[in-house]
Structures are given as C-alpha cells and as structure tokens.
C-alpha cells in the first residue's frame, strides 16, 4: 500500500489512507496514518450555521477569497426549479485542495464543501437548493489561497404550480 503525503491548510481536515478514525489538522508534511474520518468527524458545523456567505467562508477557511477568472462556475440563468439547481465548477488552478459552494440568498449560505485530495481533479458537479434569486459563489482553495467565482441565478415560483 503506498502512502500519499498531503499538505493542507490549517483549517481543512485531512483524509488519509489506512484504517482507523484519526483526523489531523496541521501544516506541513504528514505521514499517513489512518483513515477515514469517523462519523461527522470534522464536519464544519460552524460554517454551515453561518448566515452570510462571508462569515461561512471565514469559518471554513479562515481567510477571504479573491475573484478569479480561472474558476469557471456553470449555473443556469433562470433555475428551472429552485429545489434542484444543477451547479458545477471547474478550474485551471493547480494544487486545489478544496471546493465549496455557497448560495447567498439561502438561510445559511454554505451549501456544500468538498475535499479534493491529491490525484482528484478540481472539478465538481452537484445539485443545490436555492430559496430565491441570489448569487451562487464557488470557492476554490488552491496552493493555500482562496479564489472565487460568482454568478446570479434567478429563481421564481413556477407558473404552473402553486
């Protein structure tokens, strides 16, 4: 079994190979012990509780993001239905370690956060809920810095529904 040496920022948890439940948070090189986070280990509870996107980003990463055209956010102009909005992000940035999605107009801005271990492509597609027309923000953590892309997605009540 080969070990992989990961380098993550202080605020992101590590997921390493092996068996076990230890989760480490540190800078610098690490030798791999165990495993997969135990249930809900290091789930960013505080970040998910934040209302504003800036606060959620701060809670998750401990810093602010700068807009970058190297982050490509794919989201519709008008959501077909706010309950299921397909949103994807990809980037040409290197050494990506984390990708997150926020919806500014939701009661709690943070929707999803993904750990991108070395060897995984910096590209994620998912489907999110949007309560109302608002900005969708994609955050990419690369080389220890934060980059973002923002797009407004319109959400209205369907005409043939309620």
């Amino acid at each position: 079994m080969s070990f992989s040496i990961e380098q993550f920022s202080a605020t992101r948890r590590l997921v390493l190979q092996g068996a076990g439940t230890v989760v480490l948070m540190s800078l610098g090189n690490l030798v791999a012990p165990p495993a997969l986070a135990a249930a809900n280990d290091n789930y960013p509870e505080e970040a998910f509780k934040q209302k504003a996107d800036k606060d959620a980003i701060q809670a998750l990463y401990g810093r602010t993001a700068e807009a970058s055209d190297k982050v490509k956010l794919d989201a519709p102009e008008i959501a077909e239905n706010g309950a299921v909005v397909p949103i994807a992000v990809t980037t040409t940035l290197e050494n990506v370690t984390s990708i997150s999605f926020l919806v500014s107009g939701n009661p709690n801005a943070l929707a999803a956060s993904y750990a991108i271990p070395s060897g995984t492509l910096p590209s994620v597609s998912n489907r999110l809920k949007m309560q109302q027309t608002s900005n969708v923000i994609a955050i990419v953590e690369a080389g220890g810095k934060l980059y973002s892309a923002t797009k407004e997605v319109k959400v209205t009540v369907g005409g043939c529904g309620g």
Binding site: L16, A39, V103, A112, A115, K129
Partner: protein
C-alpha cells in the same frame, strides 16, 4: 434493503469519472407539512468515496443540497475493475455504504 446509493464509475485511461445519485430526503428543516408542522431537518452530512482505502473525494453537505442528491467528480490513479467504496452519514446518525466496480 437495497442500497440508497447508485454509482457509475467509468475509467477513461488514467482518469475515472464518478457519478453518484443517492436516495435521501435531504429535508432542510425549513419546510412545513400539510398540517403546518415543520418537517425536521434530515440530511446527509458526509459522503465519502474511497479507492484502495484512500479517500478520493469527501463531501460535507448541508440541507441546501437537493433531494436525492447527485454529485460528479473525477480522479486519477484507478483502473477498470478496481473497486470504489462509497458511504454516507446523516444528521440523524443513519448511514449507508456500497461498493462499486469501475467500468
């Protein structure tokens, strides 16, 4: 009981593309039922994909992820015939996991 997890993992050279669809209500806790009672929050919090015991993609989800959630990503270093392990845990402590062969 059948697994709640449906996976498609396809190897294209050194890159494996993975799509997963999971059967889960992902209730946000903000919605009321027909009687006007709040339906309690019930959503997957962590979803993990492992290859050869190594985590290749880990999702931390909140209730704003859509019902019957879908996710797609890709990673290198696997080959056709390899096994992928997928597992999730929700806010009620329930979990499910499955294994899928890379096509």
């Amino acid at each position: 009981m059948a697994s709640t997890i449906r996976v498609r993992a396809i190897a294209n050279g050194d890159t494996t593309e993975v799509q997963a669809l999971i059967q889960h209500p992902m209730d946000s806790g903000f919605v009321k039922d027909a009687q006007g009672q709040l339906i309690p929050a019930h959503f997957i919090q962590q979803l993990t994909f492992e290859h050869n015991g190594k985590g290749v993609f880990i999702a931390d989800w909140g209730p704003a992820v859509a019902k019957d959630p879908y996710v797609k990503f890709a990673f290198k270093g696997a080959a056709k015939g390899d096994e992928l392990k997928i597992s999730w845990v929700d806010n009620k402590g329930a979990s499910d996991s499955t294994r899928a062969k890379i096509q």
